[in-house]
Amino acid sequence: MSDAVIVVALLLTAASATAAVAQRDPARQALVLSVLGSVLAVLFTVLQAPDVGLSQLAVGAALTPLLIMLSVRKVRRRGRTHDAAAKDGAR
């Protein structure tokens, strides 16, 4: 019985990790990554490692998405200013 839940958690982790790698856009990758973080925390819990699960939860649920999304925003803003500068130069 308790093996079934381990198998389900393992399959979900493998599927979401593969999906996170298969995404192309970093923002969408961050979305899948946050799901992966929560699923991984559940996997650690069913393997009776709640301390590691808590670490994964604390880092994966909010902190990693925030760091990735802030980097994405910076890169996009930079692209925008560069485009504007290029237009100014062409004029």
């Binding site: 709640p50 301390d51 699960g53 808590l54 670490s55 939860l57 604390a58 880092v59 909010a62 902190l63 925030l66 760091l67 802030l70 980097s71 925003r73 910076k74 803003r77 930079r78 200013t81 504007a84 500068a85 100014d88 130069g89």
Partner: protein
Amino acid sequence: MNRLRLVLLAVGGTGLAALLVAACLGLPGFGGRSHPYGARAVHASLTRHTANTIASVNFDQRAYDTLGEMSILFAAVLGCVVLLRQARDEHRAQPQPAEVARPVRRYALIVLPVALVTGLYVVAHGQLSPGGGFQGGVVAATALHLLYLGADYRALERVRPLAVFETSDALAVSTYLVLGAAGVLAGTSFLANTLLPYGTFNTLSSGGTVPLLNAAVGMEVASAVVVLLANFLDQAVEIEEEHGS
């Protein structure tokens, strides 16, 4: 050149795969009854009245490893601060205020202290229940950033004196080192858990130096995450490159 790289990758990958398979074949069976390391770790943690064996492994039996992990985080954050500083050809733009729906703002303002107290609870009870300095510190630091999510960056900047967090980051690392050196001065060895009485099992004061080291790590992680996110937020929201440079 490209082919050489591929060949190198193939050779390295094959070697790694062979080693991994060999290691997996040598593993004990899944879910077996014999746990030589686990039995000894549990025994050691019980003799030192630490209810959570993981905390005992992290902050007592392998406290030296935790010091290394802590220094890695400290150095990583230091590197980020240096890399993400405001360069000469960049200027700071005033962040624009954001209009956030009222229920979202209220939720952020209410959950902010609740998450902070939960983080402190996780740090303080690291030796009793799952959790510890790292987990609680991250939660406490995330709580602070609800102000950015629920309002805007200016509101966060008002309650976040960055110099204080940078100082407390360094202070917490030194506290860990001083607690370790106190063992040397007391005549045992570095980070040996012999300074304090072990206390009553399953209470807040049990485990000797484990709760103190936990608190130091909690403070270090919380400050480090705040400083790290501050640099990321500065870059994402405030710092702009000069046009036409």
